[in-house]
Symmetry: C2
Subunit: 355 residues, 2 copies
Amino acid sequence: MTKHTSHEIDIVKSDTTKIDAVDFDNLTFGRTFTDHMFICDFENGEWQTPRIMPYQPMTMDPSARVFHYGQAVFEGMKAYKDDDGKVWLFRPIDNFNRINKSAARLAMPEFPEDYFMKGLTTLLQMDSAWVKPGKGNSLYIRPFIIATDPAISASPSNNYRFMIICAPAKAYYTGKIRVLIAEEYSRSANGGVGFAKAAGNYAAQFYPTSLAQEKGFQQVIWTDADTHERLEEAGTMNVFFRINDTLITAPLSDRILDGVTRRSIIQLAEDNGIEVQVRPITVTEIKEASKNGSLKEIFGAGTAVVISPISAFEHAEELFELPNIENSYADTLKDKMLSIQHNMAEDKHGWRYMV
Amino acid sequence: MTKHTSHEIDIVKSDTTKIDAVDFDNLTFGRTFTDHMFICDFENGEWQTPRIMPYQPMTMDPSARVFHYGQAVFEGMKAYKDDDGKVWLFRPIDNFNRINKSAARLAMPEFPEDYFMKGLTTLLQMDSAWVKPGKGNSLYIRPFIIATDPAISASPSNNYRFMIICAPAKAYYTGKIRVLIAEEYSRSANGGVGFAKAAGNYAAQFYPTSLAQEKGFQQVIWTDADTHERLEEAGTMNVFFRINDTLITAPLSDRILDGVTRRSIIQLAEDNGIEVQVRPITVTEIKEASKNGSLKEIFGAGTAVVISPISAFEHAEELFELPNIENSYADTLKDKMLSIQHNMAEDKHGWRYMV
Ligand SMILES: Cc1ncc(COP(=O)(O)O)c(C=O)c1O
Ligand SMILES: Cc1ncc(COP(=O)(O)O)c(C=O)c1O
């Protein structure tokens, strides 16, 4: 196993474990947390000694800047256990790089790579019983950074807290989802923070998403704020369109999150001889393709769901149903991803990382 | 004095006061808070009994949604004391209405008006010694609502906390400021949350503002994300342009905060025979007006500063200096605002509200 000395982390182990009270077959996503958490505070211009301690509430001043100005960024990643009981991460350096890209855009200090990797792996080693084996089972990992300065002036904080908390996640089959294409609301602006996993990007989507849900659509596919013509991404997923046998996904920009799953799907598709086009794709194009029968599939791609097939979309009050097809790219690519993540298939790009 | 029964608020008075340790002549904005704070929790679908208690840190779960998804909104208002020791608010209902407009956009429950007004006035009565008399002295008031649900699923919280905290603010003369006009970064999108006082809008500005500050500009004037031609507002101020003897300010939209100061300045200008145009105003127009000498003044307007005169702006690496003029609208209007706020002038629109 990869060696990780942990003498630089102050560790307080929990005397007890909550794991026996957890029903791993009936988990609500993101409500149950493991026994420990990782904390590292930024004070006096530097990251202090990291700590791992029992998962517990923390004390914050009501004036802490995160409450007032949303100076907060996060990541979402997963750990998987193989049949030998080994725990794996998937491209963790990509998440590390992205949290620092997000942090920089929000005027927050970058977190050091060795603290991140050592904190993450030590925490996972301590809570490894919470990672259940089996394709689809996983431990969802949430690194995040919040501004803790007790002062409400509208300027960057001096103090920050980096944390990692972990929640076991059960693979559950949600079925195909129906999506609404945004015509009025939008997720991000040119020159804005859409490419960052900035906390405020998510709250901004709750209300328009709830309107979509009232109409029977689980998610919104965001379009550009300017013309609402270019298809961008969903709330927590990048989006792929299959027209005939070509997979198309929007190019990255400062409005779109650079998803680790998106990047991996593009590579896996190419590895499997599927043509991928990374280019602007418009609402008009997919409506026409749907009408002439060339639109075969749409699916979302993100860490939480891996791949989420879409059965229908609505735009301008018009509903478009996707066909039921055999050999769907969504199914094939999801299976390939899961197999790599769970150490059940060759990992030719070196994406797996042993804890 | 307006009567406020407080029997519906659970009150715990502080045994001591911190006020004697405060140097009111040397206050850093937003770092010193009064003796008490107001709290009201939303649980089981309703706002619970409000409480006033000694200002103190609070306990939050690391998974509280505000940390992850920026589901948080706030307000900024001020209390003023007149020479008779009476404490006044300025158009508090406008702030009440706005926090609920912000809350609705972020899928948060609206706060009841009687809880807001009673909480605010009771808190100010208890901490009235913290409001210092004299034009320019004030107590800055920060109502805010945060999502407290301990769960990291990306959906609206079930539980919220509404709070009011107060910080004494010393009038300090900052001098005129220099501003940079945004050409690349932007503050908000069509269909986004720019019109709301959503926490995430502020963190998003920190980095571009810090770049402006490195170049010697205190603030950024944001332009539309699409063309960067239309002038919108500054970080915490709406913006007015005086061309010849006409005041111009951008129209409201879903990208711009509907400022109470902006609204009041428009009214006061009209009361004083100054022509006001609420219409789109472009970068090209003010550059030309500056070159031909018709651009007389630019100023920001917001609760914190009342009015902040601007001495120069830069766009496309070109610097434009504003002239020094006598009888500036900024000075006249600021003085009129302060006189009304401090109960030193007739309040013909009924803007003052006695605590
Ligand atoms: C806005 C957004 N887009 C896309 C994704 C997918 O990114 P990843 O594949 O790295 O999980 C996420 C989140 O995880 C997201 O929040
Ligand atoms: C973005 C923004 N614009 C304008 C203003 C001015 O609004 P008001 O006059 O209500 O304080 C504020 C804040 O206070 C603000 O945050």
